[in-house]
């Protein structure tokens, strides 16, 4: 089966700083990648996606980077805000989720 893992289970940042959340995957055939955000008491919510023919995609305050050579995915959040506090999951096209990374933003 596929392994989806995260380098850091928790991340604490100061409000206004940039955040980087990392994800490693094992299936080199994966061609679609999504980041989800889950706030307490809610279901996961789509943030941004990227297909394997790209190595970078930007959204509003978020950027996803894909390195297919080392099978690594990252989510960058610019000017992190308290509302960004949540658990973040990467999903690599098979709708399986790892443990997630908990992001805590300190005011």
């Amino acid at each position: 089966g596929e392994s989806v893992g995260l380098h850091l289970p928790t991340l604490s940042v100061q409000e206004g700083d940039n955040s980087i959340i990392n994800c490693a995957y094992s299936n080199s055939a994966s061609d679609y990648f999504i980041w989800y955000k889950q706030e307490s008491g809610k279901g996961p919510q789509f943030i941004i996606d990227i297909r394997s023919n790209m190595d970078k995609r930007q959204g509003q305050r978020v950027t996803v980077l894909l390195n297919k050579t080392v099978k690594h995915l990252s989510l960058q959040i610019a000017a992190t805000q308290p509302g960004d506090s949540a658990v973040y999951f990467c999903e690599v096209g098979d709708m399986r989720f790892g443990a997630g990374t908990r992001l805590t933003v300190k005011p």
């Binding site: 061609d31 679609y32 999504i34 008491g41 809610k42 279901g43 996961p44 919510q45 789509f46 996606d49 658990v87 999951f89 096209g93 709708m95 399986r96 989720f97 790892g98 443990a99 997630g100």
Partner: protein
């Protein structure tokens, strides 16, 4: 509504009882997924429907768990002879298909006492 709807939002049942959890996906979404999530953990995949058929049920933990989607829209997750270890939040998601954004419901919190 415009989103994925799950009912009930909370369910408390006695050990050994049978429960049904319902998921109303977004209209037109052919793919539907069920997950189970325990506190502090990521969603655990249970089953994936494409249309009416279960395309992947490899995540169902045992034969007490069963899910149906008879008309390719609403899905019901059925749990027989519930055990305390079944207590969790059960999440449903739908999408236009594989490799597309999935939309999650708010979940059903199941408590087995």
């Amino acid at each position: 509504g415009a989103g994925v709807s799950q009912t009930p939002s909370n369910k408390v049942t006695e050990k050994g009882k049978y429960v049904e959890l319902r998921c109303d996906p977004i209209s037109g979404h052919t793919a539907l997924y069920w997950y189970r999530q325990s506190l502090g953990q990521g969603p655990e995949f249970l089953i994936y429907f494409q249309g009416t058929g279960a395309a992947d049920d490899s995540g169902l933990p045992n034969d007490r768990f069963f899910a149906v989607r008879p008309e390719g829209s609403v899905s019901t997750l059925k749990i027989q002879r519930t055990e305390r270890g079944d207590s969790a939040v059960y999440l449903c998601a739908s999408s236009l298909g594989r490799n597309s954004e999935a939309f999650f419901g708010q979940g059903t919190r199941l408590t087995v006492v």
